[in-house]
């Protein structure tokens, strides 16, 4: 099977990896590069568990062709906590915003994209920002509270 080299930055580090034709970015990050923080959920763009940031914007890694991110900057949840817990991760812990944890990684990346763009969001803006991410455990309230709290902590 013919493989193609792809180069991009993953959480600030230059990475190069061989991908198969049609391989998606999620597979590439998880199996190719060993960063298992983005999760495989539905594979069809419904659940948001695979959310990563591409050049700062949220994207679904399972629906992104790996070859399409040549030269781009990818951020995952593993990068968020590289130097101790990120304020969002700490707030998720404090508010019990993770139960089974499967959605957490995608939630955190969707929340990071929001706070990077809008450091002081309203509750409705938080709800909108995570509207593409499904959580089947928490009922969302602890997640929304955690994101609002993280925004407050970053401002303080």
């Amino acid at each position: 099977m013919s493989k193609k080299p792809v180069q991009f930055r993953l959480n600030g580090a230059e990475r190069a990896v061989f991908v198969e034709g049609g391989q998606n970015l999620l597979d590439t990050i998880r199996r190719g590069l060993g960063d298992t923080s983005p999760k495989w959920g539905c594979g069809q763009g419904t659940c948001g568990a695979c959310t990563v940031l591409i050049d700062g914007q949220p994207h679904l890694a399972c629906l992104t062709l790996a070859e399409a991110v040549e030269g781009r900057e990818i951020s995952t949840n593993a990068g968020l906590g590289a130097n101790g817990l990120h304020p969002l991760q700490q707030a998720f812990m404090d508010h019990f915003a993770a139960q089974c944890g499967f959605c957490t990684s995608g939630m955190l990346m969707a929340a990071k994209a929001l706070l990077d763009r809008n450091p002081n969001p309203t509750r409705d803006e938080v709800i909108e920002a995570i509207s593409g991410n499904i959580c089947r455990c928490t009922g969302y309230e602890p997640i929304i509270d955690a994101i609002l709290d993280a925004a407050k902590r970053r401002a303080a």
Partner: protein, 262 residues
Amino acid sequence: MTLTVETVPTVADAARRLGTGVRYLGGGTLVMRALNYGDTSVSTILRSSDPALTRVETSGDRIRIGAGVTMAGVMASRDLEALHPVARVIGGPAVRNMGTVGGNLFADPPYGDFAVALLVLDAMVQVEGASEVPLERFLGERRGLVSAVTIRRPERGAFRFRKVSRVKPKGIAVLSMAAYLPGAPGRITGARIAYGNMGPRPIRVAAVEQALEGRGLDAGTIASAAGAALQGVSPQTDPIASEWYRREVAPVHLRRLLEAQS
């Protein structure tokens, strides 16, 4: 099976390359999903880096939207302000950064809400290498490589859109409706009404348009439009809603759309 990816410089190159087993990849929300679910009919994924695909251009009273403009791109365009509320209710933020205007024309129900809005704005579809075709006709065939969609610049306040979902704030549409009512609340000239998820593809609803044409948007007109809401419409039963449910709620939502302050 081995999949190959080909990236070509222009849309014209891409159109020439289309054929059996060759699928054009726009934002990925349709093609990559198909691959994830084991679609073996695809042997080649085609991409193009043509900058024309992502441009929005205005000329006179027409606006040309490149097929590769994403929903986020629509929301970032001042020329497309009337369509911002439509783009905003499609997917979550990640899907909006990926899904494109061109791709939306190929989305089967329960998706394709953007096409519903385009239908009432006299959208013409530019298929590469062919002449422009009206969107309504294109949706019946869905062939060729779409390079752009052009719409009429909407008259201020004349365009309305409603996506009805059971899950808030974001859910799959039970149905969606768009209206273009130039002149309303006074005498309406050139009424356009379209539904999504009320059949196998987005449709114009001629009976409702006729009920509105040439009349003011008063209680009597709205009542006769609501009375015609289901004429010529064959809604489907799917996991989102039954045919019966869609028939029950469509006239109610049409009434609300027409009664809403623009």
